[in-house]
Symmetry: C3
């Protein structure tokens, strides 16, 4: 189990004693890996063509001596000022077509030939020098890729991307529906990226620009990796992803990294949002594990203390550091790593928490927390390499989130796609059901339950796959505002994607937008427990085969279906017509889970705010029981663990049990509320 | 009675079956007119000088065959990308002096010689080809004119406009009071349009810029019309106005259109704002009718379903489509037209409601609503050409709204001019009193009651006209913050416009700004029902002839006049010193209407949320009784209609009655509350 | 005692009768001084090199005849349009690197050689012409200096400033901690001022830019003064400062003016903020007096009526004009001056209050208020030149406020530095204790009590000075987030400034950010009155010598010190670990003031909202008792004044008493609550 931190010794080269103290304290804190060189370009190449690797040699050598491994970064996340000064083309151009001045980080043009040339050179030299170094275990490519550039080079690359995709302007014009507003393009050169003072309303253009940005970013990443491979290193490569980052389609990007790694900075302890924060963090961990088909991931960055860039820098309460680290492991992480090892003394991140604070010793609460966790992690080596045995899956798609947000209507005040996905996910989280996150292209047959919230953009292939899944015995849950457009953001003529409406046995006719404070009510038939409030969007549908489990109670569409169940060949499709409040959603899932029979990690009721997750190697299961609340929680006797579980506030227990014992568990009815 | 829609068949040229279905469904929905070609430029001229009218020939011919008329648009609301590419000067320049990229619509420079040349050419060709086409009944010039351009061509045109207006820099400097802050211009070339990074504080400059924009837009419009006239068409011309659009002085523009047409998109069903929405929409209809002296107007656009560009796309509840269409007719419209006939499949307006939705048939609720209304409209042909016999008028002026907002002080947090006009208007609306909207230049003698809220900018001519109106027997209601500046935005020395203060018998001394949550109270003499709260602005005045009907109760100006009545020769002037809450305003108007004796459409009490309007040809009156609420409403027996009126939620009845019967009606005291 | 106004007769040159009326009304209002020529450049130099002083000759001559003195302004606050037109380099460039268009005022580049040349010329000519004029008593340099310019000339000047300060790039890189994010500068030319599209995150750069702006503004000011001195005038020079203006370090600027003058525009009567407004205004007066070591200042501008640029233009209630003018005098002003004498007729400030309104006579409430005050001021001539005998001081520093705000963390949602200073100051204000405002470089030994809130940026010299002050018997109050960084914004390694932590006997370990609505509670030992809520920031500290007077009650740091007292050699240091609500802060100061024994102006309890201040010449004290509330207030018999004090709403009394009597006063325990 790796336990480590971003390490930036170049900030302390003027004081060699610091380096020695660092190494000693790393040992004390059970640190066995560091990420190094992330922002070192100017320290490695202080002027063009002049390289100063000596300090890094020393650092790498001493790390090796101390038995600490290193992920060596390509330094392309921030470049030296001399490069911007000499080659302005490396500077990013904003959507308003203003070329940035030098500054900040992550602001280079990924198309720039000069930037690619300079990147190739430094990456090659780093690889040649360190590829066989005993400390080196992998490559950390750049840092938190993101953003876009609208320079002329990028405009040209975008047009090439479009030519490659559409072949003809006629196809592009049809896909983007440019006849309206007289937008038909008659020359490829007329196409420009979206701009605040240019085109903002052609949804297809906006969508393809986002796809291009992902494509171009991956292309730059692959350019970076190519230098390493060509220079002779076959060590694993990764780049650190960010929390459900909207700017890049990680389903695409994940194909090209050897292992997923990501940076997790939950705003723990935000008043009134403790549960939401815990669930959203869990979802992101599950997403990261799922990006490469369940393969364990790396928690590349997390703060050992507070952050300095969130609105309020809250301290972690006692226990939270260990708990949040174990939460990552419970969902599939094989590492716990921090940003950063030693707190900067100046500039923008000087108040970001670090293992070693300005105080400078091992006496702080934070250092003690880290050291204690480091010790506990040494007991969890068996967990490394195990997977999460999920039989439930929830769909989450970048194309869809982009398209929902880019479109105008039916609710410009907020469609809440991500929040809706989180709410459905939360139901499974609350009941201890291991869950995968899937893209629309995933095979579905291995799942007992597939949840597809608000899949507005749904290809015909996906619609067919969902239909097939149901026909062949799966349980599907889906919602309003699904199957509306194809991959071009063109609406399905005839209403919605046909295979999709066949699968759900319902035909959506209209969708009503509700103001923030408006609610409708839904209720089930006599005796049904289904009853509660819905908000934001209410779809009005007629049934074409489905059973109506609940109807609207108010407005002119009172009596119309609000929750339906379609028994379709060997399977079942549930359809939720409006956005439920959480209490109601839990009731809907009582019905769903009775049908789906998907397994939970344990067979006893789980108190609100407690998470139960499971990893497994097929022989043993590792069951994590985590109390995300400040108060003590009791689960009573848990048969699968053969013990009584009582947790203090923010306590987590991990139990290793034989697979045989734990495989019989059925989730309890009744949620956490 | 015209019933029609914007029709964009160029979006479906790839599928001819759609066109045939369109024609069939138009007949079914009683559609007898379409607006066509609004965004067709690139389809008509796909490359410079290459024209492709054939598809339009086909459409026009088939429309004629089917007995459907057409308003043919000049396509200048959006131009082809090739034009922006070849002639960047056609692109608008923002106030920040950045030239837009190609994109959106309505973003051309109206001064550009190239744009004018290209416009003249396409307009001429369209006219020559279709002027005698049997389907053609009029010209739809461009679309929703608006916005400004700050390019060099426009700067030059602005300076010419100023030279023409002021003749000398000395006159301009005096009008703009440029000695302060050392702003005196010594060369016409020093004058530049307002800019966020330039001049923001010279009110006269800002005001003249807005006047220039209106002037230049009309000039461009006239340039468009000239091509049509020169090419030999004398059919009527119109351009579609927008809801009390602030950017253009429609009092000026109205002179140059043959018939007023406008686009109405009320946000029906907004929680807590149902009444306000109904009243504001009614006001706009009355404004549009009044723009050309009471001549009926066209409802050129309205949505048959939801919009897609408002914050929340609410569906229309059953009945609302018919009700809102009849409301337009009640106030003077002779048409009901939609945007648009068939929903776009892609791009920015794909979720804007249309008669034919993506579903594609006549089975939808929306189609059925439209068809049913179409049928009802065939019974209202007699209404066409009738007018609204208003004896009450409310003043609303663009120069004044611009000047109030541009000025700094006395309340930068909000002066609420439009809202105040709406509130005074609402009183008459609630009581069923037909009302004209007038500009400061209107003759007043035909009105029994003239309401002039917040006429901050008041020329000496207007002040005299108001004084004469009162002297000669009229009833005037006016308020605080009136008569402050002349047409140059220069304050009247001596306090306020003299004729105005003579008319009201009151001299305003100071004006106090109140914070949003602050209130003062006013109350009348012992036994008076006048009592209630005022807010935002409290003028402190002394009387010079007026009777004090109510005084302030609080703050240091307690006891000062808050509501006065001045009997002046043959007439009466009421003055309201502060902004009343609606309940209080109703009480003030109880006093006013007792004096004014202005007639209502019916003589029975009108429940809250019900609107009664009247059109007349002098022989018959057409009385519209409309329930803008969701609940049923009873008016009991209405003598003028010789029937009992009970209305379901959102129901409207229209009764044709002899003028003789209905002309004796006096409004009831006591508002709707 | 000077009583005067900004006078802009060039706005009325077209109407000579106005000038004569002005002079007559000035006499009536007891006006004895005017500030003239502030925005007269274009009237003095209507075209380049053509000067028209004649009108000013007339004005100056008549002023002299009437016995009215003049401060003559250099007109550089706004320049003629011809200059911008001919020399665009005089136009300021924004941080986004866009050169402004001509417009507004205060928007010149202070580095521009052309602007300096033009400034020198006009200033020289003015001086030569008027230096011996009998009306002239001093120079009003420019107007309300502020803002920055990012043009190439300024970039060069900034780099020179940095070279002069740091000598080497190595020193600069270390100070700015540029190794992080690879920001190391390798060429001075790489350094550019902060920009929204450039560098935003290097705190040292941002901080030095602000210091440069102060330096460059003073340099421009000195350039202006040099012309006057070289042309032979030795009269006093001043420039009008603004309310705690953040953009310029007035501690630096104050050295170069002969007398402090400032423009005070409190938003009196803001609902719920009456007390806060009064206290903040008092603080600013004390600050202005303190800027030059207690020397009386000038109230250069205040409005005799409402303003026009605040969100709501509230009228002053009766009494407030006199009260607020006397408040300035109570804190050290020797003048009461207004902006402006006569209300402009047009343009941006036409609704700013003036002594003569648009009404144009002496009959207005405002004129009468001014005239009455003018009369009262003639009785206060003895006060001129007296000082405020303060034994308490509160520290307020520009470097610190810039650094706190520029830093990221620990609470980006708001650190509330100024508000915190105001709250501590308010305690002394409420108890009638005369208070100086001091910078970190001030000598402390003369004070009985020194308050140092949130001195985040603390040099080693200041830390030592504070330690020495305590050791030698002083009483120090300080707070959380103090002593964190040195003057480079580099954190102190080892935790905090050592001398500082020695002084307070406490070592801060962590600091917790609280969300807006979060609170912790603190309470003292059994029997202590210290009990109440804290918010925003809670520091967690361990004691190293201090006594714990109160501890936290909640969260994981319950029981940790929240309020401590350190008896250290001859003195005492109090430390407040979190931001208290006002009620709690009053209780903490009950403890502090028992220790500090600092004197109040009177010995009786002061009701809430009443301010008691004192000026003295060593022989006589002038005690001001001012009721800042609308309600009457009773103080009972005040021994020092030998009278009973009962005040009407907004009433102020001024008593001249022998020093002997009043020097024995001790402040009462128990605040105003």
């Amino acid at each position: 189990m790796l336990h480590g931190a971003d390490y930036n010794p170049e900030q302390w080269l003027h004081n060699p004693a610091i380096f020695e103290q660092d190494l000693a304290l790393m040992k004390e804190a059970h640190i066995n890996v560091v990420s190094i060189g992330i922002f070192s370009w100017v320290t490695l190449e202080p002027e063009e063509g002049t390289f100063t690797f000596e300090w890094l040699d020393t650092v790498m050598d001493r790390l090796a001596t101390e038995g600490i491994s290193a992920f060596l970064a390509t330094p392309t996340g921030a470049r030296p000022a001399w490069m911007s000064q000499k080659y302005p083309e490396v500077l990013r151009v904003t959507a308003a077509r203003q070329r940035n001045l030098h500054g900040e980080r992550h602001n280079h043009c990924m198309t720039s030939p000069v930037y690619r040339e300079k990147t190739a050179l430094i990456n090659t030299l780093l690889t040649e020098r360190y590829k066989d170094h005993p400390a080196l275990i992998g490559w950390h490519i750049s840092n938190e890729y993101g953003g876009d550039c609208h320079c002329d080079n990028c405009q040209t690359a975008f047009r090439e991307f479009l030519k490659d995709k559409y072949k003809t302007l006629e196809a592009l014009n049809h896909a983007w529906w440019t006849t309206f507003w007289s937008h038909t393009y008659t020359d490829w050169e007329q196409i420009e990226s979206p701009a605040p003072h240019g085109e903002k309303s052609v949804h297809g253009l906006a969508l393809d620009w986002k796809r291009f940005v992902t494509s171009q970013t991956i292309d730059f990443y692959l350019h970076e990796v190519a230098s390493i491979r060509q220079a002779g290193s076959d060590l694993l490569v990764t780049t650190n992803f960010m929390e459900a980052f909207e700017g890049l389609d990680y389903w695409q990007f994940a194909k090209y990294v050897d292992v997923i790694s990501w940076d997790s900075y939950p705003t723990w302890h935000t008043p009134g949002k403790a549960l939401e924060t815990a669930v959203w963090t869990a979802f992101n961990h599950d997403l990261m594990r799922s990006l490469k088909g369940g393969q364990p991931f790396m928690l590349m960055e997390s703060t050992p203390a507070q952050t300095n860039w969130q609105p309020v820098s809250k301290l972690k309460k006692p226990g939270m550091h260990e708990l949040s680290s174990l939460q990552a492991i419970a969902h599939g992480s094989d590492t716990v790593q921090y940003f950063q090892w030693r707190q900067s003394r100046g500039s923008s991140e000087k108040f970001h928490g670090a293992v070693i604070s300005h105080e400078g010793t091992n006496k702080t609460r934070v250092f003690q927390d880290v050291a204690r966790l480091g010790s506990r992690l040494t007991e969890l080596d068996d967990v490394v390499g195990t997977t999460v045995p999920a039989k439930a899956a929830i769909m989450f798609d970048w194309d869809n989130r982009w398209a929902i947000k880019e479109s105008q209507g039916p609710r410009n005040q907020g469609m809440y796609y991500e929040e809706t996905v989180r709410e459905h996910y939360q139901i499974l989280w609350e009941r201890g059901i291991p869950t995968d996150v899937i893209s629309p292209k995933h095979a579905l047959h291995s799942y007992d339950l597939v949840i597809v919230p608000m899949l507005y953009m749904m290809t015909e292939q996906t619609a067919s796959a969902l239909e097939q899944y149901v026909k062949q015995g799966g349980t599907l849950v889906t919602t309003y505002w699904s199957g509306v457009v194809d991959e071009r953001d063109l609406t399905y003529l005839g209403g919605r994607a046909k295979a999709f409406t066949r699968a759900i046995g319902v035909f959506p006719e209209e969708i009503d937008g509700l103001y923030e404070e408006e609610r409708n009510l839904i209720s089930g038939r006599e005796g049904s427990a289904v009853e509660g409030a819905v908000k934001h969007l209410c779809e009005i549908a007629s049934t074409t085969g489905a059973d109506v489990l609940a109807t609207y109670e108010e407005d002119f569409y009172a009596g119309h279906p609000a929750f339906t169940k379609h028994s379709y060949e060997h399977g079942t499709a549930f359809y939720v017509a409006a956005r439920p409040e959480m209490d109601l959603l839990r009731k809907l899932y009582d019905v769903v889970l009775e049908e789906a029979e998907v397994k939970a990690a344990i067979s006893v009721a789980i108190p609100s705010g407690v998470s139960v997750q499971k990893r497994s190697d097929g022989v043993h299961d590792y069951v994590f029981v985590m109390n995300l609340t400040e108060e003590p929680q009791e689960l009573g006797f848990v048969p699968e663990l053969d013990r009584t579980v009582v947790l203090k506030g923010y306590e987590a227990v991990v139990e290793k049990v034989s697979v045989k014992v734990s495989s019989e568990v059925t989730p309890l009815k009744g949620g956490q509320g």
